[in-house]
């Protein structure tokens, strides 16, 4: 019986204007996003080919991550060039910094399309499920035919989930097929697994909004009120909470600004170079002091910054949209934790060669060749252990909670 209701839902969706609009939006946005982000990835890849270090250069540089086509996250920061010199690490940023417009609007990647647009689309599927059937009188008819309320709700949920997810999955696979035509993009088997995990989380995320839509629909008498409430909740969850949460966390954890830190580093560096020119002073000692002071500043900043990241994550997790972003970027290898892990490796790399560099400079000997920098993205198990599992479980919990709430609300719903 549940399946009959699901079928009825699918058929009525298929012939509706809503479905037409949503389908058009999904196809256009997902394909445009794949196309644009693929071009962007190719541009960054060709940049990488130009600037990649020669063997022996003390430079840590990662190629752009192909999964950044789906979730760009911090890939731009991860693929910066970290150049080691006797005074520490110099960072050179990519070309995006030249066009200010990039920093005004977020990247239109798959993650963005799902987080913002697909969530809205899922709400549109759910908002009138109960209230509109009541307005039309069909809900009474169904119940008078002896259908149990739980079956009706489950059937509605399944029918709408399928009407929403099947076209979306097909378009996404079309996008991925388009990517696979490009010989420059290789997904390793682990990356393919990561892709499917992202897809799974995407489905969990959009079903949350579907369940939320159905819940509000059962709590309201009219579909018009339901949509108004839902749009406001959506704006709160997708935009307001995550954007305000980070700012709120900054008021609680005192982290120095990047500028303040950079000024301190410059002061240390220029002071020590000045001292090194005094009579009887040893350049090597001053270079070491610069390194030590920089390490101390970095350690202090990292500690505070990590506290800020953790607090802002915990505040933002009030919204499933934030949990979704954290989980997907972590799985794609473009998240904050990945950047942190890369930086730790860069510092380790610097520590392993800096003494050698200092003695080369001091003894004025020929510039040496240094071992190449190697970095392995965190494995899936450590990604999950360090937060993605929590975020995924949190999303699933939200899903179950809202479905259960809508069930209880529907069981007590007055269909008259």
């Amino acid at each position: 019986m549940t399946w009959t209701i699901a079928q009825k839902e699918i058929v009525s969706n298929l012939v509706s204007y809503k479905f037409f609009v949503v389908l058009l939006l999904t196809i256009v946005l997902v394909l445009t996003s794949f196309f644009i982000m693929h071009r962007d990835f190719k541009n960054r890849l060709s940049d990488y080919q130009v600037i990649r270090p020669k063997p022996g250069d003390p430079i840590a540089l990662l190629p752009p991550n192909p999964l950044s086509i789906m979730a760009k996250g911090l890939d731009e920061a991860l693929a910066r060039s970290y150049e080691i010199s006797p005074i520490g690490i110099t960072v050179r940023a990519g070309q995006k910094s030249g066009n200010i417009i990039f920093s005004l609007f977020p990247a239109p990647d798959f993650l963005y399309v799902v987080r913002v647009v697909l969530s809205l689309v899922a709400l549109l599927f759910g908002f009138d499920q109960v209230s509109q059937e009541k307005e039309k009188g069909t809900l009474k008819l169904m119940l008078s035919n002896g259908l149990s309320r739980s079956k009706i709700l489950l059937g509605k949920w399944i029918g709408n989930f399928l009407s929403l997810s099947v076209p979306f999955l097909l378009v996404t696979l079309l996008g991925v097929a388009f990517l696979s035509l490009d010989p420059d993009i290789h997904f390793s088997s682990e990356q393919t697994l990561r892709f499917f995990l992202i897809l799974f989380l995407t489905l969990v995320y959009i079903t949350f909004f579907l369940s939320l839509g159905i819940l509000i629909s059962t709590l309201t008498k009219r579909a018009a009120s339901s949509i108004v409430i839902l749009l406001f909740i959506w704006a709160l969850l997708v935009f307001v909470i995550p954007n305000l949460g980070t700012l709120l966390a900054r008021q609680i954890v005192n982290v120095p600004s990047v500028r303040a830190l950079s000024e301190k580093r410059q002061q240390v560096w220029t002071r020590e170079v000045l001292f090194s020119q005094g009579e009887g002073s040893k350049l090597a000692d001053h270079l070491r002091t610069i390194g030590d002071e920089n390490d101390r500043l970095d350690e202090n900043y990292r500690g505070k910054f990590n506290r800020l990241v953790n607090l802002s994550k915990n505040i933002n997790r009030l919204s499933p949209a934030a949990s979704f972003v954290y989980a997907v970027t972590d799985i794609a290898g473009t998240g904050i934790s990945e950047e942190n892990s890369l930086k730790r490796e860069v510092v380790r790399y610097k520590d392993s060669i800096i003494q050698d560099m200092i003695s080369t400079v001091v003894s004025n000997s020929k510039i040496k060749e240094y071992p190449a920098f190697g970095y392995n993205y965190r494995s899936l198990s450590s990604v999950f252990a360090q937060g993605a599992l929590f975020d995924s479980a949190w999303l699933i919990f939200f899903n179950i909670l809202f479905f259960a709430l809508s069930y209880f609300a529907f069981v007590k719903y007055d269909v008259r």
Partner: protein, 475 residues
């Protein structure tokens, strides 16, 4: 007659559920946002003055001309408008090892965000059923049968709707502004209030556009359930898609060279290549000079040179000539390499500004971008301010280097043997960087095109709504 319709619209809206919800939401979000942004601004002020003190302390003890430009960079102090609009002020700084990538994940929320995202959504929620909803209720027929003209109905609907939309927004903003006005440490000047007034005028145009768009879509549909779908479709495209795609499309049409590559190239040119050239040029000049002053061919330690300088006026003359020539050679090496580097960066900047201009023109198809540019320019937090800051910082750098050259020349006259570039010097009389916001006139001038585009869009969509309503089938 028109007044009656406007009054009816306002009353209708005031008693509606959506008015209540949007009022409550705006009141909470605007006041919380202003509160947090103000406290963040105060923190920024504290940090800024602490940074200035640290720089002053450094300058007192270690100021030397060779590397002073690394310590004395021009920085923009926090401005009072940060309590409302943030624009480009977030501190991502990908050029530093210790960057702050949080704003990349979730951008800040400010007044511009509240107007562009929330107010536009609220405008559509208020207007999507303004025509087809009345048709469904049957009230449209009634109005028309009472002899109301269609043009008056549509004008009254739009005027009444926009007016009611602004009640919750203005009340919430007033609460926020009260916090700003009453806060003893946040000092808003006349130009700031003027800027805010103009931003509000822009917000009226922006929200008016979305209200008219909602009315237009509503008068193209027979059922409000279809109208909301089309409205949201249009909203998603205009707000969430067009602005985000524009910089990417611009970067494909008008590409720029890799900054990392240029950075590496120019660093090498100003480092090893400049040193080689400097050594070569000073060697050549010294060879010439030795012919005139053979004494310079001998090697002296610094102490011996000092002694000879005090006793032997002929040696002093030769030594001064040598210092002058070496300085001239290095100046020339710096000039030659500097010009090369300048040329390269100028070309990169030209390409980057061409791409930025293209991206900004493409994005102006969306009223969100128009309002964002308008609000950030009027509040000194946008692209215009970046240019203004760049001009101020260039002027200050020129003044500082004039000062540095004069000071070094004077010091070398006093003691030609000393390496004044690498000796701590009292620089308390140096020209200091003072940031002043651009006058309101300049800010308004840069926001004029955005105003014009918003007015044009608003007018266009109003005309569309008008003609659709005139031909609307009310049966």
């Amino acid at each position: 007659m028109l007044r009656t319709i406007v009054k009816k619209e306002i009353q209708n809206n005031l008693y509606s559920f959506r008015f209540l919800v949007s009022f409550a939401m705006l009141l909470v979000i605007v006041s919380v946002t202003v509160f947090i942004l103000t406290s963040d601004y105060l923190k920024k002020i504290d940090e800024y003055s602490q940074r200035q003190t640290e720089i002053e302390n450094y300058m007192k003890n270690y100021a030397h001309f060779n590397r002073v430009q690394n310590v004395l960079g021009a920085t923009q102090p926090p401005i009072p408008f940060y309590s409302l609009v943030r624009g480009l002020s977030s501190d991502v700084n990908l050029g530093e090892f210790d960057d702050d990538p949080l704003p990349v994940m979730f951008p800040l929320i400010d007044l511009a965000f509240i107007v562009t995202i929330l107010m536009s959504l609220i405008a559509l929620i208020f207007s999507y059923d303004s025509v087809c909803g009345e048709k469904e209720d049957g009230t449209l027929k009634l109005m028309l049968s009472n002899g109301f003209s269609r043009s008056k109905i549509i004008a009254g609907k739009i005027a009444g709707g926009v007016l009611t939309l602004f009640i919750p927004f203005l009340v919430s903003l007033a609460v926020g502004l009260l916090m700003i006005a009453l806060h003893p440490s946040v000092a808003w000047k006349g130009a700031d209030w003027g800027g805010l007034g103009l931003i509000m005028a822009g917000a009226v145009l922006y929200v008016g556009f979305f209200y008219c768009l909602g009315v237009f879509i509503s008068s193209r549909h027979q059922a409000s359930s279809a109208s909301i779908m089309t409205s949201l479709f249009a909203w998603v495209l205009l707000i969430l898609v067009v602005p985000n795609l524009s910089p990417y499309i611009a970067s494909f049409i008008s590409p720029t060279p890799s900054r990392i590559k240029i950075d590496r190239e120019t660093s090498r040119m100003m480092d090893t290549e400049r040193d080689d050239l400097g050594r070569k040029l000073s060697g050549e000049r010294l060879q010439e000079l030795i012919k005139k002053y053979p004494v310079l061919a001998e090697n002296f330690s610094e102490a011996e040179a000092k002694e000879k300088l005090a006793k032997d006026p002929a040696f002093r003359e030769a030594y001064e000539a040598r210092t002058k020539e070496v300085q001239a050679a290095w100046d020339e090496a710096n000039r030659i390499q500097g010009e090369k580097v300048d040329r390269i960066w100028k070309e990169v900047n030209r390409k980057e500004s061409a791409q930025t201009r293209l991206a900004s023109s493409l994005s102006m198809v969306s009223p969100l971008s128009d309002f964002t540019y308008l609000a950030t320019d009027l509040s000194s937090t946008g692209i215009q301010n970046e240019l203004h800051f760049g001009r101020l910082s260039e002027a200050w750098q020129r003044a500082f280097w004039d000062y540095a050259r004069n000071r070094i020349a004077a010091l070398q006259k006093k003691d030609p043997a000393k390496d004044w570039w690498n000796t701590p010097v009292d620089m308390s009389d140096r020209p200091r960087f003072r940031f002043t916001e651009e006058g309101l006139g300049g800010r308004v001038k840069s926001a004029l095109p955005d105003f014009a585009v918003l007015i044009a869009f608003g007018f266009l969509v109003f005309i569309c709504a008008y003609f659709s309503f005139i031909r609307y089938d009310v049966r």
